[in-house]
Every structure is written in C-alpha cells, then in structure tokens.
Amino acid sequence: MQRIRIKYKKGGGLVFIGHLDMIRLWERAVRRGELPVAYSQGYNPRQKLAFGPPLPLGMASDCEYLDIFLEKWASAEKVKADLELTLMPGIEILGVTSVFSGMPSISSSIKTAVYEIKTVKDPSKKAQEILSTNSIIVVRKENQMDIRPMIKKIGFSGNTVNIEVRCDNSGSIKGSELKGLFKETGIASIKRTNLF
C-alpha cells in the first residue's frame, strides 16, 4: 500500500466547514479524481484517509495535512493533478509527497500548533500579561482547566501575535479559548500557520 501525504491551505468560505464535513469533502474529491484509494475492511468499508488535528470552525489554515492510502501505486504528481482538477476554491494543495507507509500517523507526530492572530488594538500588553502569569483557568463542561501550561511561546509585532500552543493527545487549546485570550484587544482574523 502506498501512502501519499498532502499539505493544503484552507480558506475562503471553507473556514465555515467543520472537520467531519472536510473528511467527506475529501472522500468525494478522491472519488471524483478516481484515485486508486484503499478501503477499510468491515461492515461499511471506508476510504483509508488519515487527517491531522481538527481545525477549529471559522479558522483558516496554511498547513493542513492528510494521508491518502492507495492500493495501487501512483506518482505524487499524478495524484496532485487528479485532485486539482476536481477540488473546489478554498482548498489549495501546497505539496504532495509519497511517504514511507510505516511512518507514525500525522496526529501522533504533531506536538505543536502555531496560530497567527491579527488584533484590532495593540496586543503587546496582553501578550506580556499572558507570558508572565502562571495559570489561566477556563471552564470546560463544568470542569476547570488550566490552559497556561499549553502555551509554549508568544511572539508579537505590530498588531500580529504568533502563538505556539501544545497540540497533542494530552490536550490542546480550543479555538474559542484562543480567541478568549485576546478578547480585550479585539480579533480581526485568526489562522493556523504551522503544525510540527
């Protein structure tokens, strides 16, 4: 089985399309592109696709990942060309590579997500305040949760904040919580710029 990794950008109206709908959107694109995709065994066979960490609804991204498992070999160029013929505006394929089939999954190899937040007012004071505090408590379904340890780094210049946060199985910051951090400065736009 061949494993093809796709890196893509998501923007435009597609920012309002959630993770599960994106999965279906890709499955249909793969079917339209007539890629020789592999199917799972079992009662309801499904295409073998594997996605990276879900992108919060309403957010654009420069770095979404997806693995497509093919049952017949196809060149990365051919896969890219077949998909580009049929993908809709809002998705831009940035790279297609054939990767080793035994590699760990996308989600297990990613530890960090970087978000770029454009604020309305000067964010420097707020950013420093976040950096200097030891805990930021948020409420998730009646449970209190400290999200400060999940924030790894904050950089800022002008009205742009680049914030690095933990993004793995042990817990991640939600989109709404990220926005909540800069509520007072107002948010003009927010997007995911990197995953690693």
Partner: protein, 532 residues
C-alpha cells in the same frame, strides 16, 4: 453587507455552512439584465437541499442565457436573530444579495407545516405578506409542489400557483415575466403579468382565473427533461446526502389515501439507458458515495432489476451503493437486495399501512400478509438487520381489531425474522391518516386529536417487544397538517387568517418538534372559530 455577514454574523451562528453557498457545482452568474429568480424551500438547508424538484428547476433556470437562479432557505432562529441584530435582510446563498432584489421568488411547498416559514421568508425579506399589499416593485411570488393541491389557504399571500409538473411551466413563467418587463412602458403593478400567467396551462392566479378550471400540468415524456448531471454537492450532511435519479413519475397502484399516486397521472418512465447514463455521469461529477433511484413505487418500474444490476456492476467495485426507496415487499427479491446492499448497508423500508387484510383491501393497498412475511423474511435472510414498517392510524372504517392487527403483524414479523436472523430489528412508524384533497378518500373524516392520542397510546402500551421500536407523528402536528391539506378537516375555517395569526404569534418551523407550539395554533383557531 458581505463583510458584515462574513465577519459578524456567520461566526456567531450554528452551522454557518448553511448560508455560505459556493458548494461544488453551484453556479454564480452576473445579475445584470437577467431575470433574477430566487428558489426557496422554506425549511433548513439540509431539508431543502434534499429536494430533487428544486435541483431540477435550479438547473433548468440557470442554464438559460437570460436568467439567473439562486437559492434561499429558512434561517435557523439563531441566524434570524443575528441578522436582525445587524439589520441584514434575508439574502441568497449564491450572491448574498437581498431576496427583495430578485424578480421572482419561487417557493417549493411540499409540506403544510412549512407555511409559517414561508411567511417568515417574506417578512425577513421585507416583502409584504399579502399580495394585495405588494406592488410591481416587489418580486413576483410563486409557489409549486405538493401543497398546491389545496392552494386556497395561501391565496392571500401567493401571486401564482403552479399545479403539477414545474419543468415546462417555469420556462413559460420566466418568458412571460421577461416580455412584461421589456415592454416600452413598465407597469406599476404585476396585474398585466398576472393576466398573462393565468393563461398558462397549470397556473392558478387568484382573482385572475378559477381554481376549478385550472388543469394540472404534466410533462408528457420524462426523457425530454434535461435532468441535472452536475447537481450541487453540499458541504454539510443533508437529509438525502446522495445522488438522486428519478426513474418514474406517477404510480400504477391505486391506494385510496395517497395524494401523490392519485394526482400524478399518467405513469411515466425514464428510459433505463438514460437512468444508467445519468447515474454514472452524476457520480463522476459529484463523487457521491450513494445513488438513489427514486419514484413512488420503484418495483413497478418495468426494468428495475436490469437497471439495478447494471449500476450494481458499475458501482460495486467503486464502493458506491445503490438504493431503491419505495420498494413494495411483494417485489422484494433477495438476490437483487444482496447485489444492491453489497457496499453500504442501508435499511429496508416497507409499508403495509394497515394491520388487517380487511383494512388493507378497503384502502386498496394491494398486499397480503403472506407477501409481507415472505418478503421481509427474505430481507432478513439476505443479511439485513433492520426493517422499517409504515402504518397509518385513523383510516376510514378502522376498528379496534385493525389496531390490534398492527401489533399482531409486527410481532409476527419480528418472531419470524428472528428465526432467520437473530439480530433482526424492526421500526414501526405510525402516522395519522389525513383525508387529503384530490384523493378517493377526500371526503372521509379525519379523526380527532383525542382519538389520535388514544390510538397512539394503545400502540405504545401493546407494542413492547424489545426488538421493535415504535415511532409516531406528533398528534397535534397531524391535526394542523390536516386543516391545511384536507377540505374535510379545514371546512368552514378561514385557514389563511388562522395561518397569519399563528405566524404573528411566533409560530415557525412547525414540523420541528422542538419548535412546534400547538397552544399558539389553538388560540389562532379558537379566535376564528368563534366568528363563524
């Protein structure tokens, strides 16, 4: 307005994808010089986008060189609130332009419980609800669909109704609109246009022609319809999230309660070759994982097994499943069932309608208990785990014995089903008989709310097998549906006034249990009953 919608409104509402348009195969055309048509299904995006008629009309209008077509659906209450907060009027999915700026607003009315939503569409578009309060500067408001079998309750609000098949009529309506628009001296009202529309076969224009003189329009040859081979592919999961291919219109059966089967005459077929070709092309253009071959009674399509087999062969290796809704149990063939079910297992649906042979005979449901048992047995034996059954309560001449028959038949089905498949389950769906206009039963009585509830309770108490799930329609909803669709039930009631009152009292999304508010309807009905 675009920025406001994108930056303030959409991020604040649930399921924003309902309002953004831009789906694969949606078409965006410039508005200049065009006849601008907005098509509306007055319910959520997910329900409206599942309607095949809307998809066909969208395609037929948008391919014209002189017209554009855009879609609009009912905004969910959170969206309505957000739009009001920001002073944004209802807008179309494609161009995000106000509905008020369109030339024609066409409603697909398939269910009476969407009427308050229809009025809300007008209100949110800042269009006067009553046709007499509108001018030539407002869009022409037209409506088609199953509800036009009984258009009178809506005749205060709708300018023109299309009775029957819409494919040809919509072309004639747009032509008529264009010729009136292009006159040297435009008129301040739609009156001359309405005069012209009233001359089109199948169009009922209140105050311009008589309903009793309007004959339903029928497309003689379905093969002449340019069906969409590139239907829109929704971003979000809709109710019927699949390629839908029509194979037949009308029904050779004569079930006395069935409006669709009675009014859609004669039975017309799409050629098998066309069905197969269209299905293949549609899958290629959409990437859907399922094709559904639709009609009122799929097994009465003469070459159904040939078509199903052909598609099964073509799609099986691609893991695309083929489904055949509206199958009658007597025609259920296990080998084909297996062929069709080889990819994605979906449920099987059968409609005995009544619990005893006597009542099935009385309503002309041409089915015996042996038919039902043997075919459902086949379905379970071929690997299906669940079967849905449809029954009606309140049918003319129904007795306690008939109700007991529903229980007995269901129990017998599950008992025999378990012998061939230990995991067998059935869902028993019970709806309430409504004596719909234009059916052989149109003059029969509809049972009262109290009786509906008593019969439902009887079934709830007696259908208690752990592998039988009982579902029923909310009794109060059936009552309201009956008032609008049945001459008998609505007799003597000023339904237009009741509708307006209920709407103004806040009724919306009446076919949604969480929104349906029977008290408001009761108040509206009582207010007008007293005046009689």
């Amino acid at each position: 307005m675009h920025d406001l919608i994108r930056d303030k409104i959409l991020p604040a509402v649930s399921k924003p994808a309902r309002y953004i348009g831009n789906e694969l195969n949606s078409i965006h055309k410039g508005h200049k010089g065009m006849v601008k048509v907005a098509l509306c299904y007055p319910d959520t995006y997910e329900i409206g986008m599942s309607n095949l008629g809307l998809s066909i009309l969208y395609h037929l209008i948008i391919k014209r060189e002189d017209a554009i077509c855009e879609r609009v659906f009912s905004p969910w209450p959170d969206m309505e609130a957000a739009m009001k907060e920001h002073g944004v009027p209802l807008f179309s999915l494609e161009s995000w332009k106000p509905i008020k700026d369109f030339d024609i607003l066409g409603f697909s009315l398939q269910h009476e419980l969407t009427y308050t939503n229809m009025l809300n569409i007008l209100k949110l578009s800042d269009i006067p609800l009553k046709r007499k309060e509108r001018t030539g500067g407002h869009p022409l408001i037209i409506a088609g669909g199953a509800c036009t079998n009984n258009p009178e309750p809506l005749s205060d609000f709708i300018d023109a109704f299309v009775l029957g098949d819409g494919e040809e009529v919509i072309r004639e309506i747009i032509d008529a609109y264009k010729s009136c628009r292009d006159r040297p001296q435009p008129t301040p009202t739609h009156t001359p246009l309405l005069d012209n529309l009233s001359k089109i076969d199948g169009v009922y224009v209140p105050d311009h022609n008589e309903l009793k003189n309007v004959k339903r329009r029928t497309v003689k040859d379905l093969n002449s319809i340019d069906y969409p081979a590139k239907p829109i592919v929704p971003f979000i999961e809709v109710v019927h999230d699949r390629a839908t291919i029509e194979i037949m219109r009308g029904c050779p059966r004569r079930c006395s309660f069935c409006q669709a089967g009675t009014v859609n005459k004669p039975v017309r077929l799409v050629d098998p070759e066309k069905v197969v070709a269209l299905a293949k092309e549609t899958i290629k253009n959409t990437g859907f994982e399922e094709v559904s071959l639709v009609s009122l009674s799929s097994c009465d399509y003469p070459r159904i097994w040939e078509v199903a087999n052909e598609l099964g062969k073509a799609f099986g290796p691609k893991r695309i499943s083929v489904s055949l809704p509206s199958m009658r149990p007597d025609s259920f063939r296990a080998d084909i069932a297996k062929e069709l079910q080889n990819v994605r297992k979906s449920g099987i649906t059968l409609a005995p309608e009544a619990g005893t042979q006597r009542l099935r005979d009385h309503i002309h449901k041409d089915l015996t208990e042996e038919n039902i048992l043997s075919s459902i047995g086949n379905a379970f034996a071929s690997g299906a785990n669940s079967v849905k059954l449809y029954f009606m309560i309140g049918l003319p001449t129904e007795t306690e014995e008939d109700l007991a028959g529903i229980v007995a038949l269901s129990n017998r089905i599950i008992k025999e089903g378990k012998t061939v498949n230990p995991r067998a389950k059935i869902t028993v769906n019970v709806s309430t008989f409504i004596p719909k206009k234009n059916t052989p039963f149109e003059n029969e009585k509809m049972i009262s709310l109290d009786k509906i509830q008593k019969k439902q309770n009887y079934l709830k108490q007696n259908l208690r097998h752990k592998s039988i799930e009982l579902r029923w329609h909310k009794a109060e909803m059936s009552v309201i549906e009956g008032l609008f669709s049945s001459l008998e039930a609505g007799r003597g009631l000023p339904m237009a006034k009741i509708l307006l009152d209920a709407f103004e009292a806040g009724c919306r999304f009446d076919n949604w249990t969480e929104h349906f508010d029977y008290c408001k309807w009761e108040v509206a009905i009582a207010a007008h009953k007293d005046q009689i």
